[in-house]
Amino acid sequence: MFDGNFFAILGAALAFLLAGAGSAKGVSIAGEAASGVVAEDSDKFVSVMILEALPSTQGIYGFVIAFMIMAAMGDPGTVISTAKGLTLLIAGLPIGIVGLFSGVYQGRVGAASIGIIAKRSSDLVKGIILTLMVELFAIFALLISILMIGRV
């Protein structure tokens, strides 16, 4: 039962599970802060929504990698070698694990940046930049995962 397909599917699952969970947590942290600001001043909805949406990218990246791993397994029905399956599993880990942590932490920076908007809505750009700093690592993780899948 522990054939290559099993490991590859496990890799796809982990890539999305971890990164998606990170994004869900991150967006919810930022979202709670955003709702607080909107409750005070509904004109700030668009600004805080942008900041709230930023940590959702990790989930997207995990989704992309999960899909690419499944595509790398070839047509349905083919059984890949255990070695190939394990490699695909490992290739899914960077975006999974980095996505989990960066999603949560990006959500926290996002929530703090929403605090900036609450005080001065003109400083949206600064908030976005601060929040995007965390994003870079998720992007690197996505890239590494993509390049690893390409090497299988």
Partner: protein, 657 residues
């Protein structure tokens, strides 16, 4: 055009013309009036007076009008435009409304009164509803609410916490042989509701026991009759108040037809306030006055001609001095203009630097396109924003935004076509041949490493252009040697580093890399030596010079990480196209049947809608980020003070002459 040249204007005129001249300057809206500087020799003649009382009076009126507007807004039943835009009004109509301003102000005051009435009634309903909730807990109370004492008996009502055990309290009272009776009239999850009958002589010992167990006395002062009667009375009261509210709201709905006039009068008073404030910046003497301000060089002649023809005035215009803070106005062509708000969100360029907008615009748009990289999405975006840009009446800022979106949409189409992505792989899926290749260049999904190399290459170009702009800044400031030290040596240094790492980049043309690689070390060393010798030149002592030189070398690491940061061009682009393909393939699973087609259309609209929304937002913020952090970092001198001409800063209307 870039940053518009400014000139300092001094205008001397007759006191009697002051108000008319200021009004005209406001209509023209080309002069940024500053606080006039009164030299010591003329300080006896000229003085400035800010009419604080007048301004406070105007502020009061503005406050009334603004409150009235915010009250009426929800009752205005006219259809509102999607894009907020100030109403155009011709001068004649405007003057008509202004003549009626006192009546309109009275209406606004009345509206504020109605609003207070509405608030009072609403809080009355709240109070009554709360009272009903309280009374409902006492619904089993059999005695009239006003009962407090008979001849020898004291009656009180009160609540005990739910945790208090009534039986044990009763036992305690019995033990002390007190004439006190507890009647439970109800309980809920928080509290028990009690009526206590006590003999007057036993009041204090009984109360002691009860209070110890947490009795909170409930007073029904002001109530008369039974609980039901009171609830009924309150409910009647609520329905009367609700009817009142309906009547008030009807009245407000009717009054909302005054909204346009109130808004116009609001703007009239805010214009007057602006003039009053500006009059405080003008130096006035007995017969004459003078004002100072900045004027963009292209307007200078026209303004001077008009003013000298109409009034007895003297106009002096001079070049700005070195130590003056000169306001910044940027003006660019069709493409350069579109991104000026993105730059302004970061900071306005300083007057002494070059305007980055025309150079930044193509990079911003192409990077945006590269990260969205789908011709279908680009087409939709360009069409939608193009329609708004050309055919819908919107404010200038929104118009520029739409222009930017339209151009970004075209850039997205450009890359999408190169990569063969039209709504992901929609056409191959529909044609049933997933291996179909529509790309004019190559498919990044199949060759991510090749795309990574190109992303990094675009990054190098971007950063090199940024360094070039630094040279332009230095040339504008006439620091020619600095161009050699602070720009050329970096070029040499970075180029050496790039040659050196070239063979390590995936997807690169190895032949070229192998030719260039051997030169890398030498070029790097030459550049490094140039930097080491020159970067510390500003420090005075020898240690400072050496540390300055080393610190500069450390920047190489920052340069490398800047370049890597451009890998997001690949990552975001891939994310878009992979998700788009998943949407298509999921939608197509129903096959070519009626249900299949319906499912396909649903999945297509929702899936691509979400993908487009998330990824266009991503492309926008990431493309901005690449400008702010990687690009501006190399040359940008911000902190420019915006050019704020004295003009009609209206909120609701635009007056057409």
């Amino acid at each position: 055009m870039a940053i518009v040249g400014m000139k300092k204007l001094t205008l001397v005129g007759l006191h009697d013309d002051r108000h008319r001249i200021l009004s005209r300057l406001m209509e023209i809206g080309a002069v940024d009036i500053v606080d006039a500087k009164i030299d010591e020799e003329v300080s006896g003649i000229f003085s400035k007076e800010l009419k604080k009382d007048d301004i406070a009076e105007l502020d009061k009126k503005l406050h009334v009008l603004e409150t009235a507007i915010s009250v009426l807004k929800p009752y205005d039943e006219r259809k509102k435009p999607v894009f907020k835009v100030r109403k155009d009004i011709n001068h004649h109509d405007y003057m008509g409304v202004v003549l009626k301003r006192h009546d309109i102000l009275a209406i606004a005051r009345e509206i504020c009164g109605v609003k207070d009435e509405l608030d009072t009634t609403r809080s009355g309903i709240n109070r009554d509803t709360n009272s009903i909730t309280t009374l409902n807990s006492w619904s089993a109370l059999s005695i009239p609410l006003e009962t407090e004492t008979t001849r020898n008996t004291i009656v009180i009502n009160g609540m005990l916490p739910a945790a208090a055990d009534v039986t044990s309290i009763r036992e305690k009272i019995e033990m002390e042989k007190l004439a006190c009776e507890l009647e439970m009239t109800g309980r809920d999850s928080d509290q028990s509701y009690l009526t206590v009958y006590m003999h007057a002589d036993d009041e204090s010992p009984s109360m002691l026991i009860l209070k110890r167990n947490g009795l909170a006395v409930m007073s029904f002062s002001g109530y008369e009759g039974s609980v039901e009667e009171n609830i009924e009375k309150l409910q009647d009261g609520i329905s009367i108040k609700e009817a009142e509210i309906n009547a008030i709201e009807d009245k407000l709905r009717e009054m909302s037809q005054n909204l346009d006039n109130i808004e116009t009068v609001f703007d009239y008073y805010s214009i007057r306030r602006e003039i009053s404030v500006t009059e405080g910046e003008v130096a006035s003497g007995k017969r004459i006055f003078f004002l100072e301000g900045w004027i963009p060089a292209p307007f200078e002649e026209k303004l001077e001609k008009e003013l000298t023809e109409k009034w007895i005035v003297d106009v002096f215009v001079r070049e700005p001095l070195e130590d003056e803070e000169i306001p910044v106005m940027v003006q660019n062509g069709f493409v350069g203009d579109s991104v000026q708000d993105i730059t302004a969100m970061y900071s306005l360029p300083s007057y002494q630097s070059v305007d980055p907008n025309p150079v930044m615009a193509p990079f911003f748009l192409l990077f945006f396109g590269l990260m969205l990289s789908d011709a279908g999405y680009g087409l939709v975006m360009a069409l939608a924003s193009g329609i708004v840009y050309f055919f819908v009446n919107v404010e200038d800022t929104m118009k520029r935004f739409m222009k930017m979106m339209m151009l970004a949409g075209i850039a997205t189409m450009f890359w999408g076509a190169l990569f063969g992505s039209w709504f992901g792989n929609l056409i191959p899926v529909l044609a049933g041949d997933l291996n179909m290749n529509l790309s004019l260049w190559f498919q990044p999904v199949l060759e991510p490493e090749y795309m990574l190399m190109w992303s990094l290459f675009f990054g190098i170009i971007h950063i090199y252009v940024g360094l070039g702009l630094k040279a332009a800044n230095l040339i504008k400031q006439k620091k020619y040697f600095a161009v050699l030290f602070d720009v050329v040596s970096w070029y040499v240094f970075f180029t050496g580093a790039i040659f050196l790492v070239m063979p390590m980049v995936p997807g690169i043309n190895m032949e070229l890399a192998n030719i260039l690689n051997p030169y890398g070390m030498n070029i790097l060393l030459i550049g490094g030596a140039m930097l080491f010798l020159t970067q510390g030149r500003k420090s005075k002592n020898i240690f400072g010079k050496i540390i300055g030189g080393f610190a500069a070398l450390y920047k190489l690491i920052q340069f490398m990480s800047d370049i890597l940061s451009y890998s997001r061009l690949l990552a975001l682009g891939l994310a878009t196209s992979v998700i788009a393909s998943i949407v298509n393939e999921m939608g197509a699973q129903g096959g070519f049947t009626i249900i299949g087609v319906i499912v396909f259309i649903l999945v297509f609209t929702v899936g691509h809608g979400i993908n487009f929304a998330l990824n266009s937002l991503g492309a926008y913020v990431h493309s901005s980020r690449l400008q702010y952090i990687e690009f501006f970092d190399k040359f940008f001198e911000g902190g420019g003070k915006p050019f704020r001409p004295f003009r009609r800063n209206t909120k609701y209307i635009r007056i057409k002459d």
